[in-house]
Amino acid sequence: MSHADFPAPIPPATLLAYWLGELDEAAEAQLDEHLLGCGDCSGQLQALVELGDGIRKLTCRGSLRGVFTDALPKRLAEAGLRVREYRVPRDGSVHCTIAPEDDIVVARLQVPLEDIRQLDLIVLNPEGQGHERLQHVPFDSSASDVVVLPGTDLLRALPVSTMRMQLIAVEHGSDRLIGEYTFHHTPWAELQT
């Protein structure tokens, strides 16, 4: 098949599926050949690969903030990154910091998750300065915690402060508070004095 025979441009979803090895053998072989003959489509794939490289870099740097599952911090630790973890009991609190050598900080918010269909996370900023609601956060219903990466850039910039997070189960359009978590943050330097 020449590259002219292939329906072009190749949709980004197909290129991503190809890159991730999700296509069947025949489709993958067809795309292999098409991409070797088509500068435009290989350029699109190159852009996708660069995007992936960028996401990987930001993740390893700890810059990304978000809610993930247990799989991500496990992989980061396996890759040799230094991961600082805090397990926070339901309606409990923790004293926390970030060390200069830490690459990633993970907060594990402990809560039973079975039967939860939608989960939102409310982050109450230090000293009551507003809040942010992250809707529909991902979670593994068979797990007993929600994995939050607060972002190392943010943490390194924090003074001594207290931050709260709330987990909200959204059921039939109404909210139910299922856990509240308090973080007493102290900058690393202050802990050394």
Partner: protein
């Protein structure tokens, strides 16, 4: 680059005319190389190398998942392809992509089996190469971070879980306890929004 090393050793062929007048397709370049005396169609060889190197590199990254191995693949495949074009051993230049694919498959298997052969090939042809692969444009980290943080939580998480170590939808679905189809939909939507945001960041003054 590859062609500069050649240019210093060969006399330019007047038939190796400027390539920018009318953009020749890959097959035309291949025919020019075949028609010229070996090593003389330097401009055609350079252009073919310039076009094929990033494509072969992507093939290598996809199938070998290792940057250095992909760079080795580029050098080996393109050197062999051009050598065979020079020798008139590529029977259907209009099916060059198919030919290059065959070479890629062969070399990937070879690279996977043993390092000895690729070291030898690199040693043989090293003088013709200045060791540079295709350059990749730099992605602006700050824009990417800003665009990622703007995504809805689920889209961002699924994109990160996908791209961090190139995980398939079915694996991400298992982690999240949702369907594979659902992961694909969220992933597709997130990728679209991310690209849109990055495009508008690039367009911004």
């Amino acid at each position: 680059m590859f062609t500069l090393a050649y240019a210093s050793r060969v006399e330019a062929d007047p038939q190796d005319f400027a390539l920018d007048a009318a953009e020749p397709d890959d097959a035309s370049l291949a025919r020019r190389i075949e028609a010229a005396r070996p090593g003389v169609a330097t401009a055609a060889e350079a252009e073919l190398y310039r076009r094929l190197a990033p494509r072969v590199r992507l093939y290598g990254l996809k199938h070998l998942r290792e940057r250095q191995a992909a760079a080795d693949l580029v050098q080996q495949v393109l050197l062999m392809t051009i050598e065979r074009l020079r020798a008139g051993q590529v029977r259907e230049p209009e099916r060059l992509a198919s030919y290059v694919l065959g070479m890629c498959r062969m070399v990937v298997l070879d690279l996977q089996r043993t390092h000895a052969r690729h070291e030898r090939l690199l040693g043989t042809f090293a003088q013709d190469l200045s060791g540079d692969g295709p350059t990749t444009p730099h992605l602006d980290d700050a824009s990417l971070l800003r665009c990622l943080q703007r995504l809805p939580e689920r889209e961002r998480s699924i994109l990160v879980m996908t791209f961090y170590d190139d995980r398939q939808a079915r694996d991400v679905a298992v982690d999240l306890g949702i369907s594979e189809g659902n992961v694909r939909v969220i992933r597709h939507r997130g990728l679209g929004r991310l690209r849109e945001c990055m495009d508008s960041s690039e367009a911004a003054p």
